[in-house]
């Protein structure tokens, strides 16, 4: 018995040691990034490197925001990510509710087809989507046949529209609605409540945890999106923060201070979200992973 506990203590200490070393490895890039972003250039390029800081400067943050209109790009990304959250919350929960709680012909087949789209690699739809948005009729100078103008290109619609009601949102919400009892709807129906009211007033308020998780994922996806906005947006005024960060680090490749400051700013909203909703992040991933 005694031997056993001692063995356990040693085993546990080794476990904690390994976990701690690994934690340091995982977190070191953050430490170093923050350190670099508030450090004078002389301290940055001195060997051997200094692990701690003795004096602080915010000049790199200033230069990140003044070399390019970084605040504007931040706002653009905030708008796009928020729009993605709002549309996916609404259409995702509406669709998910229908697949979980309503009876209609072809339900399972439609759901399976919709779900299969999660497995379709984005690369195969990229070029046709681009052409489709470019030749969208009656917008961006296009005539009714979709030619003559640029359609939805260089417009936020081209980013918001294709992802406004993702299959993942429908799937996640459906899984959550399935876990709620059916008889809430039955009794409301007998009292004559309409289907939308049953959804909106009775079920939706019960899905707050799922909505929180979905908001977080959608926001993160929208905020971190890089390739598609780069393809769609040509007007620098409309650039997203990720595009701006990439072109900044490409054009100012040796200015590590501002690069790190800009990277931190570009990560900040997700971190703030994470601090407030850590629980939902973890639950949501586990939920989607297990049920998938």
């Amino acid at each position: 018995m005694k031997l056993n506990t001692r063995k356990n203590v040693i085993g546990n200490s080794i476990l904690y040691l390994i976990l701690t070393i690994f934690a340091i490895v995982m977190i070191l890039p953050f430490y170093w990034t923050i350190l670099t972003s508030i450090r004078y250039n002389e301290d940055m390029f001195s060997l051997p490197i200094k692990w701690f800081i003795t004096r602080i400067t915010f000049e790199h943050y200033v230069s990140a925001f003044t070399t390019v209109p970084y605040a504007k790009y931040f706002g653009n990304s905030l708008f796009l990510a928020t729009m993605g959250v709002l549309t996916n919350l609404f259409f995702g929960s509406l669709g998910g509710y229908a697949f979980a709680k309503l009876k209609f012909r072809g339900k399972n087949a439609i759901f399976k087809v919709l779900l299969s789209s999660i497995m379709v690699p984005g690369i195969v739809t990229m070029i046709p989507q681009f052409l489709l948005l470019k030749n969208f009729p009656m917008v961006g100078g296009n005539n009714i046949l979709g030619s003559g103008g640029i359609g939805f290109l260089n417009s936020y619609w081209a980013i918001i529209l294709p992802g406004a009601a993702g299959a993942f949102a429908v799937f996640l919400m459906r899984q959550f609605f399935l876990s709620l009892p059916d008889d809430l709807a039955e009794s409301a129906r007998i009292e004559g409540a309409g289907e939308f009211r049953i959804f909106w007033n009775i079920y939706l308020p019960l899905t707050k945890p799922a909505l929180a998780a979905l908001s977080i994922f959608t926001f993160q996806g929208g905020w971190n999106n890089f390739m598609w906005p780069m393809i769609i947006l040509s007007d620098p005024e409309k650039y997203t923060i990720q595009m701006a960060l990439q072109s900044f680090s490409f054009n100012h490749a040796t200015e590590y201070g501002p690069m790190m400051a800009a990277s931190i700013v570009a990560t900040l909203p997700i971190f703030i979200l994470f601090i407030f909703a850590q629980k939902y992040f973890v639950q949501g991933i586990a939920f989607a992973g297990i049920k998938g």
Partner: protein, 308 residues
């Protein structure tokens, strides 16, 4: 008497109500799923077919698409650059997916064992997963700086002269593996953790009583029980990994030489820089088929009953 009649009438009206309800329920259901379904048809379903069609054409956007039959596919067979990008991405997947599985599963198992501070550790491991691919790439360009970067500094402490990472064609791809594994561990660890918590304790207890050691506990209980989880993690990681672009674009611009050029990178440049929409679609479609085939093989080996 009147009681029974009343009950019958009530029952009838209830039935009518229910059947009317069923019909209105069906109509409402279609309205509820209209937006996701319409967007799926327009932005996923139709584009897949259009990509297939475009892969047989020559199309530069400015002039109408010209049907060229199998011309693009023939060209692809002899396109050395496409083979290079395929080789790169296969190498990347072979390094990325196994290391991702090993690290995230080991960490999840360790976290599942400890009693104190598990949440703190979990939060720390999850943090890199919050960063965007571009921010991570930018930060790691600095960390992997041959002279002033901390990676080579730390290697220096233990007497290793670090390579020039991104500037060297034999380490550039490894650098991208490091960055993406660093970013990907958190999410997969959480999925594994949830999978581990679903394995009932009595399995381990009874096996231990039968004298099973730790290795056989893992081999005969943990690993088989996690099969659906592993299938999910492998499938999703692979679909993502085969489409590697952001980090290769931001860290190395496909270089040095073509060492980190990926198929998606090539599709992007031929489609949007050179306006060869037809040929780019051919490459995209072939990549799609490769991903599909490998997912199918993965499903055959691991997935039998994990999709429900």
């Amino acid at each position: 008497m009147t009681d029974i009649q009343g009950a019958i009438i009530r029952d009838k009206s209830k039935k009518i109500k229910i059947s009317r309800n069923a019909r209105s329920q069906e109509v409402m259901a279609y309205i509820f799923i209209a937006a996701p379904l319409a967007l799926f048809l327009i932005f996923t379903c139709y584009p897949v077919f259009r990509a297939f069609y475009l892969s047989f054409t020559q199309y530069d956007i400015l002039t109408p698409a010209k049907w060229t039959g199998l011309e693009n596919y023939k060209r692809l067979l002899h396109d050395e650059l496409f083979y290079i990008t395929l080789k790169n991405v296969f190498l990347y997947v072979l390094m990325y997916v196994p290391s991702m599985i090993i690290v995230s599963l080991s960490i999840a198992m360790a976290l599942n064992k400890i009693q104190y501070a598990a949440t703190t550790y979990r939060v720390i491991y999850y943090m890199p997963g919050l960063t965007s691919s571009i921010a991570a790439a930018t930060v790691w360009i600095w960390l992997l700086n041959p002279e002033y970067g901390i990676v080579n500094q730390i290697l220096g402490y233990i007497g290793i002269v670090g390579p020039t990472w991104l500037a060297n064609s034999s380490t550039a791809l490894v650098s991208i593996v490091i960055v993406t594994v660093w970013q990907g561990i958190g999410g997969n660890m959480v999925i594994y953790l949830a999978g581990l918590q679903g394995i009932p304790d009595y399995l381990y207890e009874s096996a231990s009583l039968d004298g099973a050691n730790k290795l056989s506990l893992f081999r005969y209980i943990t690993w088989p029980a996690l099969k659906p989880t592993t299938f999910f993690v492998v499938t999703m990681s692979m679909i993502g990994a085969f489409q590697l672009f952001d980090q290769a674009f931001a860290m190395t611009q496909g270089g040095p030489g073509n060492a980190t050029k990926t198929p998606v990178y090539l599709i992007y440049t031929s489609g949007f820089n050179e306006l060869q929409m037809g040929y780019a679609s051919t490459m995209a479609f072939v990549l799609f088929l490769i991903i599909l085939t490998i997912s199918m093989i993965n499903m055959k080996i691991n997935g039998e009953n994990s999709i429900n």
